[in-house]
């Protein structure tokens, strides 16, 4: 039974909230139960931004995720904050373009993905979040297919931003391919 509790975390501008939302939409398209909630708790201003996405076969009890099964962290403060919270046996994908230290947990599977580099080498300075999603879909193919993600990109993003989608799709694919 699928039941993944995913946290996307990074700086405000890194698009973690929308990455989470797109993933949720993709999974929803495949008939899964999904929820998405941005952190809006203690930290009012500055600091890290993050969101929690739950994707499951059964109805979701709580959208709040205390102990994620999967973490995608795009900057170092987020790594510091969430690495300790990941469930044993869980997955950590981290953005090695922006994070200098190595994760320390050994009871989880860690994927190092140079998200910004992947994004930039495909012509965008803003699609690091897409690279992370691509990697995630490879690591956890049950969450959603690449096709559903493409659909999500068109349904979940406002029309005037569709122009970025070809690059987004490209970056997702590259992120996907990066994992092997």
């Amino acid at each position: 039974m699928l039941h993944e509790k995913i946290i996307f975390a990074g700086f405000g501008g890194q698009g973690v909230i929308s990455a989470g939302k797109l993933l949720a939409i993709a999974a929803m398209k495949e008939g899964k139960e999904v929820s998405h909630i941005p952190s809006y708790g203690a930290e009012m201003r500055g600091g890290t931004a993050n969101c929690a996405v739950v994707i499951a076969d059964d109805p979701i009890a709580s959208a709040i995720v205390h102990k994620p099964t999967i973490c995608i962290v795009l900057n170092e403060p987020s790594l510091d904050k969430f690495e300790p919270l990941i469930q044993e046996g869980g997955v950590l994908i981290y953005n090695s373009s922006k994070i200098n230290r190595k994760p320390v947990r050994t009871d989880i599977t860690v994927y190092e993905v140079p998200c910004n580099d992947i994004s930039e080498s495909n012509g965008s300075i803003r699609a690091a979040n897409m690279a992370a999603i691509g990697a995630l879909l490879k690591v956890k193919p049950k969450l959603a297919s690449l096709e559903s993600m493409n659909t999500a990109l068109y349904e979940g993003i406002s029309e005037r931003n569709h122009k970025h989608n070809p690059i987004n799709i490209k970056v997702i694919e590259e992120g996907y391919k990066f994992i092997n």
Partner: protein, 248 residues
């Protein structure tokens, strides 16, 4: 090195703790002006009334007693405190939503009673804490999350000028509008804040200082561009200067 002298440093009234403010947020500037003024006036036991707004934690950043008021009620809370502790300096620190929207009644009435308090009004033309909604001081055309095509004066009116409003009342002794959008203005702002606190110390009565401020985050501008926007857009509508100074 004995031939070095520290000519500017963090005011002793400021705590070491870092603020939660966004980079370039001018709340930090106004905080330190208050702290410096208190230090220079030798006031060690001021009581600050915090608003509900981004500055809600001001008491965590300054070495003084702090009371957190409900949204908009800081002048009423300050009145309650000052009527008991008439020898303590009481500061009501408020944002534009707090002071001019929900708390307008308390603002005007505390001013009209001439409470011997100092009101520091941080006008950043937006609701900072709640994520950038329209404030009573939002500029015409300014886009906010609740005026997504820009503030339309036809529908929601024009920005309210606090100093001008309070200036219709008899009892306030000191009313001044300053800005904190660059060093020169910050220095002027400091003077006004210090004067407003001195007035209270001398028992003169109600003093009001409006500080034009920036909210880079919700304005969607860099701190520097926010400076420029303040200067180009706000100052023409909110003229700087003294509106009342009982001694003059």
């Amino acid at each position: 090195m004995s031939n070095e002298e520290i000519v500017y440093k963090k005011s002793p009234s400021m705590m070491e703790r870092e603020t939660h403010y966004c980079p370039g947020c001018t709340h930090g500037v106004v905080h330190k002006l208050i702290a410096e003024s208190l230090d220079e006036l030798g006031v060690e036991d001021a009581i600050v009334v915090a608003p509900v707004g981004c500055a809600v934690l001001i008491y965590d950043y300054m070495k003084l007693d702090g009371v957190e008021a409900a949204h908009g009620r800081a002048p009423a809370v300050a009145t309650g405190i000052k009527r008991v502790l008439s020898d303590k300096i009481v500061i009501s620190y408020q944002g534009d939503g707090d002071l001019l929207a929900i708390g307008l009644g308390e603002t005007i009435h505390a001013a009209n009673r001439g409470e011997n308090i100092t009101v520091i009004f941080v006008n950043n033309a937006i609701y900072g804490m709640t994520g950038g909604q329209m404030a009573p001081t939002t500029m015409p055309g300014q886009k906010t999350t609740t005026s997504q095509s820009g503030r339309m004066a036809d529908d929601v009116g024009l920005p309210i000028r606090a100093c001008e409003l309070i200036n219709t009342l008899e009892k306030p002794v000191y009313i001044e509008r300053v800005s904190c959008h660059n060093g020169a203005n910050i220095l002027k702002a400091k003077k006004a804040i210090k004067k407003a606190l001195l007035n209270q110390k001398e028992g003169k009565g109600y003093s009001f200082v409006e500080v034009l401020a920036t909210c880079p985050t919700n304005w969607g501008l860099t701190p520097k561009k926010a400076y420029d926007w303040l200067e180009d857009t706000m100052i023409p509508y909110y003229p700087l200067g003294n509106f009342r100074d009982q001694e003059v």
